[in-house]
């Protein structure tokens, strides 16, 4: 427990120190790279709530990531073309304001997660994996065949969206926003983990019958966890789109779902900072190994294999040891 706390602090300190150093050394690319890691970490923190705490192996989280991305894309697209989203029954205009976009991303992805969860949670195990995958693919092909928002080509947003009082085009300022959201999500997940809900959710993963027999329905727990999880991943999607100033159906692809899951497994399933460490290492490997070989994924695959076979707690588990039951 102590060691994990130290490790967590070290990881977060790294996420503060690296961009700060890059800012002073005038290395904007490093800042952008860290921003990317922080945003993908946020997506992983979302998934970890379902996968780690709830034991729900979702291979469809790209759906929420993509919905968040398109929430940003659609709103900003209408704002930059000065066309309203809809005029009837009442006028809805686009926006370039990040807080509004985030709110829309959170709400739409939460609603999608609620509906997908309500349908998917009727199944479990491998069927749950397949049905979430299927929902993800449905969104993917839907977006490809929707020409109004770029279809297969996606949409470019020419200017990054604004945040009151900040210049979001300055990499370090945009990074600060992303880091604050990541820290906020981590705080929220940590609160949930130690709450009555977190206790029941973890118990439902280990023994559904135990939870039922004390008067709690596992499926209600799972549905709430899945919805919150989808909302956090959706927020990450909105940030990711803003980072790239571009959205495309790729955000909905199953590879995206897979990558988010890789962050969680690499770092440690169910460990608070697991997806953060996982995303950082993924991005680092992607950056450095890509220079060594085009086929850098083979190294990632080998590491992942070793992780799954020999270190079930991921990197965090490897360093900090088995999770200790909180008294």
């Amino acid at each position: 427990m102590r060691r994990e706390t130290l490790l967590n602090a070290a990881i977060l300190a790294g996420f503060l120190a690296l961009p700060l150093w890059a800012w002073m050394a005038d290395e904007p690319f490093i800042i952008t790279l860290t921003t990317r890691a922080a945003i993908l970490a946020l997506a992983g923190v979302g998934l970890n709530l379902a996968l780690g705490l709830g034991g729900l192996v979702s291979l469809g989280h790209a759906a929420f990531f993509g919905i968040g991305g398109y929430a940003m894309g659609v709103l900003a697209f209408h704002a930059q073309t000065y066309t309203p989203l809809t005029e009837a029954p009442f006028l809805i205009e686009g926006t370039k304001s990040m807080p509004v976009i985030w709110l829309v991303a959170l709400i739409t992805s939460a609603l999608a997660a609620l509906v997908i969860g309500a349908l998917s949670l009727r199944t479990s195990g491998v069927y749950f994996i397949m049905i979430t995958l299927a929902f993800g693919q449905m969104f993917y092909f839907f977006m490809i065949s929707w020409p109004a928002y770029g279809g297969e080509d996606g949409m470019s947003i020419y200017l990054r969206n604004g945040f009151p009082g900040l210049n979001t085009l300055d990499p370090i300022q945009f990074y600060a926003l992303c880091f604050v959201l990541l820290a906020g999500a981590l705080w929220l997940v940590s609160r949930i983990q130690h709450s009555a809900f977190g206790l029941a959710l973890a118990a439902a993963r280990q023994s559904p019958m135990r939870v039922t027999s004390v008067g709690i329905r596992p499926r209600s727990l799972h549905l709430l966890a899945f919805t919150l999880s989808g909302a956090i991943t959706g927020l990450a999607g909105a940030l990711f789109a803003d980072l790239n100033r571009f959205v495309s159906p790729t955000m909905f692809s199953w590879q995206t779902s897979g990558e988010i899951m890789v962050f969680v497994i690499l770092g440690g399933v169910g460990r608070l900072l697991g997806p953060v460490l996982g995303a950082a290492i993924f991005i680092a490997m992607e950056h450095w190994l890509d220079g060594v070989s085009d086929y850098w994924h083979i190294y990632l695959g080998a590491i992942l294999l070793g992780m799954v076979l020999f270190a079930r707690g991921g990197l965090i588990g490897l360093i900090a040891g088995r999770e200790v039951a909180h008294d």
Binding site: R191, I192, H194, S195, A196, F197, G198, L199, A200, L201, A202, A203, Q206, S207, M209, R210, V211, T212, S213, V214, G215, I216, R217, S220, L221, L224, E323, A325, H326, D327
Partner: protein
């Protein structure tokens, strides 16, 4: 005449051509241990499932303290006051013993997302006194997977206790226990009946005859006799069923 706490009336359940329960009725009165015995395949598990809400019977009703439970699911029945233990321990193995007990103390109210649950003094009080009751007070911080088999059975009872149930439904609490464990569990159940009556399914006949105020015998899905241990011991139908002579006229 006191009103029974748990009332099972006319429960029938078939699986295809197989009749698991046929018109089963039984009562659980305040302060009693009512044992349900019967040979393997007699339909005990089906009856327990029908009472606990794990499966829906084809016919029949279940009332707990005057409230109709028919049609409620397991979670709702647990909240209504049915404290259950399992034949095979159902516990959150990676959690501490105290966490398992705290889970029961929540009383079905799990949708609180912010307050740290293990620092809630009220819940801790309920959980710890239940652990003390079964003799696990020294193991509150132990990981549940590290408990012995007998201690896990005790923890099951403790969790059921945290629900402050109106009736206990215990499915073979002695299963797999040694002599010492059985003796401890027998003592525990003996004291527990004053808190809430116990419907006890058990294979250990010594324990059953020592503990039970009344015994019901289930054979081929029907209750063939209900009575005090002495009556059951002398009942010719029961003797025939247990000696395996059902086939003879």
């Amino acid at each position: 005449m006191t009103e029974p706490v748990l009332q099972v009336r006319g429960v029938s359940k078939s699986f295809g051509a197989l009749t698991a329960n046929e018109d089963v009725s039984l009562d659980l009165r305040p302060g009693e241990i009512h044992a349900l015995i019967g040979p393997n395949g007699a339909g005990k598990s089906t009856l327990i499932a029908a009472i606990s809400g794990a499966l829906t019977p084809d016919a029949g009703t279940v009332h707990l303290a005057g409230r109709d439970l028919t049609g409620l699911d397991m979670a709702a029945r647990a909240r209504a006051g049915l404290g259950r233990t399992f034949q095979i321990s159902a516990l959150a193995m990676e959690m501490s013993v105290l966490q398992n007990a705290t889970l029961g103390a929540l009383g079905g109210q799990a949708f609180r997302l912010f307050r740290p649950v293990m620092r809630d003094a009220g819940l801790r009080q309920v959980a710890q006194s239940a652990l003390a009751r079964v003799g696990l007070q020294g193991h509150a911080r132990t990981r549940t997977a590290d408990l012995s088999h007998g201690q896990r059975r005790q923890l099951e009872v403790a969790i059921a206790l945290t629900l402050a149930p109106r009736a206990f439904l215990m499915d073979e609490p002695m299963a797999g226990l040694g002599l010492e464990g059985t003796a401890r569990m027998t003592g525990l159940l003996d004291a527990l009946r004053v808190e809430a009556p116990i419907l006890l399914v058990e294979h250990d006949m010594d324990a059953v005859f020592r503990l039970a105020d009344r015994i019901s015998v289930l054979v081929y899905g029907r209750i063939i006799a209900t009575g005090t241990p002495a009556e059951i011991r002398q009942n010719p139908d029961v003797r025939r069923a247990y000696l395996g002579e059902e086939a003879s006229p």
